[in-house]
């Protein structure tokens, strides 16, 4: 990768020059080196991966801006760790830190959730009734797991009756491990699913399937276990070349695939899952299953004028942004980054790392009255764990091209130990560095 910051500086200098003044070119060059002075009011909704990283980067680049972060959650959760917790490889507290510890000095944190956005009046109202006005608004609320959409299921069942819910949080991931551990001792039918909506880390359901199979093999109980994967569509993964590789691995590992099945109900008593399919409802039995519900935008965005107004995501309510600049289609002073952004793919922490500098650069350019050339190309990465100790470092963009970070060294479709080391050792450190605005 080239260094986009240099690119930004030179492109901006050029634009300044073209706009008619060498003086302008000079100031925009300096704007990069020195902090930009401004009194802009910037409100960021959500202090997760994206909101925290952006707050740190803006605080670094701007002098005098009033940056307000709105999030009622006191705990910061490193979600990529949930898979490791759910596989008994890390304790629940591996993913838990505090929201406060990552925040830069000099910003305001309103520890309530946002209840309402009025983009015409440029105000946000919090659940407690605080009204915040803004010059720039950044949506970084992540997404909502719609557990209620799975009939018969409730989170208090997790860990019992063969029910796992790795997505639900670190404690639920730990309970999921108890259920998986028991299942791979006793044997039976393992049933794995994913929702039909957009979802964060679309690789995670597959990883957990691989990990369960691996445990059974290691424990010597594989012969007593049947594993079924119910795919929501006609494929396992949206990137065709990755899909094909996973399909081959599933075949090698004896994991059976049922296509076009979307989970709608669970009967924990009978241990039956019901799926919607083109042929109508289909029942599948299980002794162990990892429930992953539909994912939608949090109400504050979904019920606002900022949600997509048409198309396939109408009922999911993602923020209607330009997929290259992360800028809202109808309200140019609003950006969305992270899981809430209505862009194809891109719901991973790795995408956050690439989206945040783009939004940051466009905001700073708006403040200085220049144009930013920064573009997000859809980069997403997924360390696809295939067994404990091995993974495939799959990276791709909007166009389904593989975009390996270490071409010729770390092969994307090969099950490698180094790719596992990246997930187990380097990923959390990189994520934390990103939160601080340094990666």
């Amino acid at each position: 990768m080239g260094h986009p910051q240099n690119l930004t500086a030179s492109r901006r200098a050029f634009l300044g020059f073209a706009a008619g003044g060498l003086a302008l070119a000079g100031t925009s060059g300096q704007a990069r080196a020195e902090n930009v002075k401004t009194s802009a009011k910037i409100v960021i909704l959500g202090a997760g991966a994206a909101g925290t990283a952006l707050a740190n980067r803006l605080a670094d680049r701007l002098d005098g801006a009033r940056i307000t972060l709105v999030d009622g959650r006191k705990r910061h959760l490193y979600q990529p760790g949930f898979t490791l917790i759910g596989a008994g490889l890390k304790p629940a507290n591996y993913s838990v830190s505090t929201t406060a510890q990552w925040l830069p000095r000099g910003i305001d944190w309103v520890d309530e959730s946002a209840a309402n956005i009025d983009p015409e009046a440029r105000t946000v109202t919090t659940r407690g009734g605080k009204k915040l006005s803004y010059d720039f608004l950044v949506l970084a609320t992540g997404l909502k797991l719609d557990w209620g959409a799975i009939e018969g299921f409730s989170l208090d069942m997790v860990g019992t009756n063969g029910l796992a819910a790795v997505y639900a949080g670190p404690e639920y991931a730990a309970k999921s491990w108890q259920a998986m551990d028991r299942f791979t001792d006793e044997g039976g039918i393992g049933l794995f699913t994913r929702p039909a909506t957009e979802m964060k880390c679309a690789g995670a359901p597959l990883k957990y399937t691989f990990l369960t199979e691996d445990y059974a093999t290691r424990k010597g109980s594989r012969g007593r276990i049947e594993i079924n994967y119910a795919a929501h569509s006609g494929s396992l993964f949206s990137v065709p070349i990755v899909n094909e590789k996973v399909r081959m691995l599933f075949e090698q590992r004896g994991i059976d695939i049922a296509y076009d099945r979307v989970l709608k109900a669970i009967d924990p008593g009978r241990r039956i899952a019901t799926f919607a399919s083109p042929e109508g409802d289909v029942e599948m039995p299980y002794d162990f299953t990892n429930v992953i519900p539909p994912m939608v935008a949090p109400d504050v965005v979904r019920d606002s004028p900022l949600a997509v107004q048409s198309g396939q995501w109408l009922d999911q309510g993602w923020a209607d942004v330009d997929k290259s600049t992360m800028r809202h289609i109808r309200y140019p002073e609003i950006f969305a980054i992270g899981d809430i952004a209505g862009v194809p793919k891109g719901k991973t922490a790795a995408s956050v790392k690439w989206q945040v500098p783009v939004a940051e650069d466009h905001i700073v350019a708006d403040i200085t009255g220049t144009l930013s050339p920064a573009i997000y190309n859809g980069y997403t990465s997924c360390p696809m764990i295939t067994r404990i100790g091995r993974a495939m470092l799959v990276e791709f963009d909007y166009d389904n091209n593989l975009t390996p970070s270490f071409p010729g060294v770390i092969a994307p479709l090969e099950e490698l130990w180094v790719s596992w080391l990246m997930k187990e050792i380097a990923l959390k450190a990189t994520y934390n560095a990103m939160l601080r605005g340094k990666a």
Binding site: M1, H3, P4, Q5, L89, K353, W354, P357, Y379, R387, I388, G389, R390, S405, V409, I410, A411, E414, E415, L416, W417, V418, W420, L421, E424, I425, A426, K428, A429, T430, N432, A433, R436, K438, A439
Partner: protein, 119 residues
């Protein structure tokens, strides 16, 4: 990965070990290297006998480094899946071997009476 600059790399390592431990390790490595260079300049050459004795520790260094990596992760030798894995494993061993050799050489060279120009 976006912008793999030295600054990013340092930030990642700080997060991996905690800033205190990381910079302490960097400091220790720097002190050993500086002392080693000091010994080289003082003696104007690598002292053959000391080097041979120091090299005896190389396998221990290699094993210790590989053991350390295994200790840090839930994976092991059986997970080596491709050439790059083997390369990383070997590189870890070589780094441990060279590191410990330099350390032992430096310590031996600094021990009183072991220095050829002394007396």
């Amino acid at each position: 990965m976006k912008d793999l600059t030295l600054e990013t790399l340092l930030a990642v390592f700080e997060e991996m070990f905690g800033p205190l431990l990381f910079w302490a390790m960097v400091a220790v490595a720097a002190i050993i290297t500086i002392t080693f260079v000091f010994v080289l300049i003082r003696d104007r050459s690598l002292e053959g006998r000391t080097l041979v004795r120091a090299e005896l520790s190389a396998p221990i260094g290699a094993l210790a480094a590989i053991w350390f990596v295994q200790f840090m992760t839930n994976s092991g030798y059986s997970d080596v899946g491709g050439p790059v894995d083997l390369f990383v494993l070997l590189l870890t061993g070589v780094a441990g071997a060279v590191g410990l050799t330099i350390l032992v050489y430096t310590v031996l060279a600094l021990l009183p009476g072991k220095h050829p120009r002394q007396n």
